[in-house]
């Protein structure tokens, strides 16, 4: 069972503001889902290398050449708030 304190801690790590109703619902649902998932715990994986990507990947690198693809104005065009070509954020220092 995942308690409310754990749920609040996860929400904090995930940078998600959730209501107390949401926290209750998620606690209950995640507990159910995780207890179902615990079936994989019984599989013996001693010495098995984790697989993080499924296909063979041939390494390739392109030439490190600068390309001008977008203007600064295009890059900040989607910003919710901006000042000139800068993103506007709360004070960070």
């Amino acid at each position: 069972m995942i308690d409310q304190k754990t749920i609040e801690q996860i929400a904090k790590l995930a940078r998600l503001k959730i209501s107390s109703d949401e926290a209750l619902a998620y606690g209950d649902q995640l507990s159910k889902v995780l207890s179902h998932f615990e079936q994989i715990a019984k599989i013996d994986t001693e010495g098995v290398l984790p697989l993080v990507t499924p296909s063979e990947i041939e390494f390739f690198a392109r030439e490190d050449e600068p390309r001008k693809e977008y203007t600064a104005a295009e890059m900040v065009a989607n910003a919710p708030e901006k000042a000139g070509n800068l993103f506007k954020v709360p004070p960070v220092v």
């Binding site: 995942i2 754990t6 749920i7 996860i10 929400a11 904090k12 790590l13 995930a14 940078r15 998600l16 503001k17 959730i18 949401e22 998620y26 649902q29 995640l30 159910k32 889902v33 995780l34 179902h36 998932f37 079936q39 994989i40 715990a41 599989i43 994986t45 098995v48 290398l49 984790p50 697989l51 993080v52 990507t53 499924p54 296909s55 063979e56 990947i57 041939e58 390494f59 390739f60 392109r62 693809e69 977008y70 295009e74 890059m75 900040v76 065009a77 989607n78 910003a79 919710p80 708030e81 993103f87 506007k88 954020v89 709360p90 004070p91 960070v92």
Partner: protein, 491 residues
């Protein structure tokens, strides 16, 4: 020309030989979409430049310039793929106002082949769902019966294709999101081998599982569209540099001697809806008649595919979705005064308001699985079992060319029926998720209908980069399918 039944090749040849113009084809599908989309909610937005783009293709032909194999073919694109200057939402409020400055490679290749982007198609928010009920832009409906879900997450693609309000569509598949809705809506959908198709410009959900692929009306259209979008892309380091076969040219119903595996563990479950079971058994009989040989195979770890999938997908999602922070693009909460705010509150409030319930649930699950103290027990453990599963598949494909199975245990379910129970919804995916974990190609081909008129498909799974084999088997099935060429009547 009957545009509802014409193949990509028919239309493209007719456009090139000026029997019909790209503008006429585009107008036909735009009008049809305008009439039928309100009942289905398959499109989130239409492309206001579609007719101009079609006109440019006609102009090229007029000038004697070369145009590609999809000249004038109207495509709907899942709203998870970036389209230049056309809003891309991922079905989420958090990307409500996002206008990409570039095209995804898949979109770029379709356009280069002469295809016209008609509009952007509905989906579960961030592709997280199996019913298209988690979209911020409203539920999409199944054109065969609008009380039913079209499946998900590529529900809009499947619904639009089934109702023929696009000639072809593109979907993405992380745990079944191309195959399951294709199955629910009676169309052909192929999830290519991981690395076959570029993920550049596709909003990331779980990067080690996501692949885009065509969702279309016939196997030959699927083969042609896959040929167009596949191949190495210097912008996606996980794409393979293998040569893309000429899938459409190599297509044949001659499958004599091909070995098809039936997974023992799937049969043992006894979970199948009787109508799905019947269609599945018929597909086996038909392939036998066509000369295929059947072998029983065992892939014991498929039993754990669903928990493995959700652990890995949620973990990757919690990391991928960290980028939505209300700074560079997308939704930002309505803050009155930034100067007195802390950065953490700024992020948390924006993300709390911008993401929907299912997305938050998966971010929470993934964050938990990756957090200190649980990483080894959950994420790392799932990745270890994933390697063992992939090895079991490799052994299996030494004994057979492809695997045959149902796509889902039952046909489409009613809207609202499963939305309150995430676990039941997740278990919907037992036949589809293992394919993504192992990076294999898989497809769904329509093969029957329920008595009440809902489509039932058959799933074929192939070995890495062996799309041709499953396309050929599907082509043989399609040739004798009772569901072939059926179009739902939408009022």
């Amino acid at each position: 020309m009957d545009l509802l039944q014409a193949s990509f090749k028919d239309v493209s040849d007719a456009v090139k030989s000026k029997k019909i113009s790209a503008v006429e084809v585009t107008k036909f599908f735009l009008n049809r979409a305008e009439k039928l989309n309100p009942q289905l909610n398959a499109y989130i937005c239409m492309n206001p430049s579609a007719l101009d783009e079609a006109s440019a293709i006609d102009q090229k032909i007029q000038n004697g310039e070369a145009v590609g194999p999809l000249a004038g073919v109207s495509f709907g694109i899942k709203d998870l793929l970036c389209t230049k200057n056309l809003r891309t939402t991922a079905g989420s409020k958090i990307l409500e106002n996002f206008i990409p400055p570039y095209d995804a490679t898949v979109v770029n290749r379709l356009r280069s082949a002469g295809a016209i982007v008609l509009g952007k198609l509905n989906l579960d928010e961030f592709a997280m769902g199996s019913s298209n009920e988690t979209s911020f832009y409203g539920k999409c409906k199944n054109p065969w019966n609008t009380d039913y879900v079209p499946g998900g997450s590529s529900g809009g693609s499947a619904a639009a294709q089934a109702a023929r309000i696009a000639m072809g569509t593109i979907g993405t598949d992380t745990g079944g999101s191309i195959r399951q809705p294709s199955n629910f809506c009676g169309i052909v959908g192929i999830k290519p081998t991981y690395g076959r198709v570029s993920r550049y410009g596709i909003v990331a959900y779980a990067s080690s599982l996501d692949q885009a692929g065509p969702m279309v009306s016939t196997v030959s259209d699927a083969a042609l569209a896959l040929e167009v979008i596949a191949g190495h892309d210097e912008r996606d380091s996980t794409t393979s540099s293998r040569k893309v076969p000429e899938f459409s040219k190599n297509l044949t119903t001659e499958i004599k001697g091909m070995k098809v595996g039936l997974v023992k563990e799937y049969a043992a479950k006894g979970l199948l809806n009787p109508e799905v079971e019947k269609v599945y058994q018929t597909s086996i009989e038909e392939l036998k008649k066509a000369g295929a040989e059947f072998v029983e195979v065992s892939i014991p770890l498929t039993e754990f595919a669903v928990p493995m999938y959700y652990l890995i997908a949620a973990s990757e999602a919690s990391s991928n979705l960290a980028r939505y922070d209300g700074v560079k693009y997308g939704f930002r909460s309505d803050f009155k005064d930034l100067s007195s705010m802390g950065l953490d509150d700024f992020y948390s409030q924006t993300r709390g308001e911008g993401f929907g319930t299912e997305v938050k649930r998966r971010i929470m699950l993934g964050t938990y699985c990756l957090s200190s103290g649980y990483y080894d027990a959950y994420y790392n453990k799932a990745c270890q079992v994933r390697r063992m599963l992939k090895d079991q598949y490799s052994e299996t494909f030494k004994k057979c060319d492809a695997l045959l199975s149902p796509v889902t245990v039952s046909p489409a379910f009613k809207i609202g029926e499963r939305v309150y129970d995430p676990l039941t919804m997740y278990l919907n995916d037992i036949f589809t998720t293992a394919t993504n974990l192992a990076g294999l190609p898989g497809l769904s081909v329509p093969f029957g209908m329920t008595k009440s008129g809902l489509p039932i498909g058959i799933q074929l799974t192939g070995s890495h980069f062996e799309e041709q084999k499953i396309l050929n088997l599907a082509y043989a099935l399609e040739a004798v399918s009772s569901a072939k060429g059926k179009v739902p009547i939408v009022y």
